[in-house]
Symmetry: C2
Subunit: 136 residues, 2 copies
Amino acid sequence: MKDSNLKKAGLKVTLPRLKILQILEDAKEHHLSAEDVYRVLANAGEDIGLATVYRVLTQFQEAGLVIRHNFEEEHAVFELDHGEHHDHLVCVKCGRVDEFTDNVIEKRLHEVGKETQFMITDHSLNIYGICGGCQK
Amino acid sequence: MKDSNLKKAGLKVTLPRLKILQILEDAKEHHLSAEDVYRVLANAGEDIGLATVYRVLTQFQEAGLVIRHNFEEEHAVFELDHGEHHDHLVCVKCGRVDEFTDNVIEKRLHEVGKETQFMITDHSLNIYGICGGCQK
DNA sequence: GTCCGTGCAAAGGATTTGCATAATC
DNA sequence: GATTATGCAAATCCTTTGCACGGAC
């Protein structure tokens, strides 16, 4: 259950937190902005403030439950952290975000870190372009 | 001269534009925020407003003279566009930004585009970590 | 009952915009 | 001289915070 995820993260189990976690899990489009989450809540008749959405998402991020991305947009987007790192394909037409991983690239990244004496903690790789659907 | 760069871009040659272009060219650290540019101008005794800095940088971006990046910071940074694409190594300690390119990665990116039927227009690859200097 | 979480409204930082003035061509 | 830029202040957008109330444990 979601309860345990929250408890494990040291967060009290509250309605807003459960709802928001649920929304992130159910989302077709895995990458949601705070606004998006707020809108879904509003449409579901939940009376949860935007400030709370931001607060909860930030807490989730600190707890490692979600990842926050700054794509080339004006606002941040959040996605559940399932553990495996992945990179992103962002469609500049429709805003759709797909995920991918590539072992060759991952390996080269480590090598680049070694060559440049850089202690890598993280990386973000985003490919921007036009997705199959939008090319028609 | 810088004049021609501006004219080529269809921009009138004005003092603020020249100064800002100059600052971007002279900068040790190639990646500057609007605030950084503004500070340099102020220190040089130039009386140029922050709004103008933003306006000029945005115009430069539209003209293809500079590239705007949104790293994991709260503000954008700008660098001169010298034509060759490169990726970034961002030190999370001191904020230093280095550049690199890797042909293996570039090649794989194209292949990922093909495999996913994605018409790639651009990409951004940022490695976050601790630079050699900060590891001591 | 204590403490943490929430809602609301106000604050905050980065960036943009409206308007009168000043500069370029 | 006409048009485009600039400076300033106000406006805007996304996000965070302060504070009093309500809910979790």
